[in-house]
């Protein structure tokens, strides 16, 4: 049965890909997730333990529940994968529409304590372990090893900007205007960035996956083609933004429960328009702004009794019994800064009330300090001081509204340019190793 479309296309769809065996129409700017949501296909997998239907949620590469099989490769993020003609996309961890494993959720109404599930007798325990093993993994082995030789690149940029979101792009533009264009690394494809704002020196489709202070480098990679990048910058600007954490509400995992911010960004990026009823759950100025942008009704999390629906979200039931019918629920939590790379680099980390963030001065400069956890803290203290200066801008530096983000970029750019002025511009180097 064809599902009602939830997002209207910006123009006539010109692409077709296959989802679970059936054709789906898409537009050139679409990701797999935007095309699927547009088509009303909200569920992409079943969960590991309770076998509940799940689908794209954060729409931002951060939550890990939109993983699908694409052209024989397991666990690809639907929300970051651009649609290509004839692409074959398959759900994972499901056994068809009438999946018998869905009963798990019904049978274990009071939850599954996997540590103490069917421990006795031994024979039953072994059978349970066999079943658990079959149900656990996510996705099947890839069809084939990647084609083509893997590549290795070494970069020695004066300034490395990680992330080409709003703050990363603005900072890169400010530095470029002053004659010091940075190298910008962005995990999304170049096509996902507004053409007019694409930084001059951009590595797109490449994710910075770690900082290794002891080896004095940052590491990044792309998956297709398989390429590893080693980066040894003098300045690193973390413009990695924030994660959209979940809001603990009953049935907050239903397909169609998405991040309000992720949804707004997706609409902007694809040019699609909402053709669905949306309820925003959140409070505070940011949630109000997002709800207004989406043209949606907003309720505070404390008023929500539970989210309704079985195979996808159908509505929000409030504490007073009232039901708000909808096709999508958009969560607008306080964002949690993406502190991970900063922590690996040895930045002191504090709890902000919403999440964790590196401690930085008003310009965004991060002082190196002990690592986050005492057991692994010795590392940062024994490591020699890093050869780079570390900066944070935008949401990572605590900005939440567009105006705050711009102000944070302006301060950081000015301070960074002052620091750069003290030393002559070195030649950047980029080499295939």
């Amino acid at each position: 049965m064809p599902k009602a479309p939830l997002l209207a296309p910006p123009g006539p769809p010109t692409l077709t890909f296959r989802w679970d065996g059936a054709p789906v129409a898409a537009c050139p700017g679409d990701t797999v997730a935007s095309a699927l949501i547009a088509a009303g296909e909200l569920a992409t997998s079943r969960s590991a333990k309770y076998r509940r239907l799940r689908g794209p949620a954060c729409l931002h590469g951060g939550c890990g529940t939109c993983l699908v099989r694409v052209d024989g490769r397991p666990n690809q993020r639907a929300c970051l994968t651009p649609v290509r003609e004839d692409m074959v996309v398959e759900p994972q961890n499901t056994y068809g529409g009438l999946d018998p494993t869905a009963l798990v959720d019904q049978i274990f109404r009071r939850g599954i304590d996997h540590h103490h599930l069917v421990v006795y007798p031994r024979l039953a325990n072994q059978m349970m372990q066999g079943v658990a093993r079959e149900l656990a993994g996510f996705g099947e082995l890839p069809d084939a090893p990647p084609e083509g030789a893997a590549g290795l690149f070494d970069h020695v940029p004066e300034v490395l900007v990680i992330g080409a979101g709003r703050s990363g792009r603005a900072l890169a533009a400010a530095l470029a205007a002053a004659g010091r264009p940075p190298l910008v690394v962005e995990r999304r494809a170049a096509a996902a960035l507004p053409a007019a704002e694409r930084p001059a020196r951009l590595l797109a489709g490449v994710g910075v996956f770690a900082c290794y202070p002891q080896e004095r480098l940052w590491a990044a990679a792309s998956e297709h083609p398989p390429v590893l990048h080693r980066l040894r910058p003098r300045h690193v600007v973390l413009a990695v933004g924030a994660h959209e954490p979940t809001i603990p509400l009953a049935n907050n995992d239903l397909p169609g429960v998405v991040s309000a911010r992720g949804l707004a960004d997706m609409l902007e990026q694809t040019g699609r328009r909402l053709a669905a009823r949306v309820v925003v759950v959140g409070e505070g100025p940011r949630a109000e702004l997002l709800a207004a942008g989406l043209g949606a009704e907003r309720v505070a999390p404390a008023r929500v009794h539970k989210l309704l629906g079985a195979r996808r979200v159908k509505g929000v039931q409030l504490d007073d019994g009232k039901i708000l019918r909808c096709d999508l629920v958009a969560l607008a939590p306080d964002p949690a800064p993406a502190f991970e790379l900063a922590a690996q680099a040895g930045a002191p980390i504090r709890f902000t009330g919403a999440g964790f963030a590196p401690v930085c001065d008003p310009d965004g400069r991060i002082a190196a300090g002990p690592a986050a956890h005492p057991l692994e803290a010795a590392d940062a203290q024994t490591a020699p001081p890093p050869p780079w200066t570390l900066w944070a801008v935008g949401e990572l530096a605590g900005a939440t509204t567009p105006a705050e983000i711009q102000a944070s970029v302006d301060r950081c750019a000015a301070a960074l340019l002052r620091a750069l002025a003290e030393s002559p511009a070195p030649e950047d180097s980029h080499a295939r190793a």
């Binding site: 954060c58 910075v208 990679a221 979940t246």
Partner: protein
């Protein structure tokens, strides 16, 4: 469908499971992570860690100023063994290293 409130969807960890871990005396983010599995799935904590942090602070179990995240282990973005293999230098195989 059973009504469940999730803190970590990757590993199917509900609010109730976190509460049980707290009830048996686990109060450290690192140990709650290990006992419940929270944060050990594909997102590696991007969705759930802050929610756990807020819960521990709201319950008065950890003062906000003392709360620390669990170790942010690499990789924070996916990377394949194929791409990583390109970065290997040095001899292909050491002499039989077993002692």
């Amino acid at each position: 469908m059973t009504a469940r409130t999730f803190v970590c969807r990757c590993e199917d960890v509900t609010l109730g499971e976190v509460e049980r871990a707290i009830a048996v005396g686990l109060a450290d983010v690192e140990e709650i992570k290990r006992y419940t599995g929270l944060g050990t799935g594909p997102c590696q904590g991007k969705e759930c860690l802050s929610a756990l942090g807020r819960l521990l602070v709201a319950r008065g179990l950890v003062p906000a100023a003392a709360l620390r995240p669990f170790t942010a282990r690499p990789p924070v973005e996916p990377v394949t063994f194929g791409a990583l293999a390109a970065g290997a230098t040095g001899p292909v195989a050491p002499e039989d290293p077993s002692r």
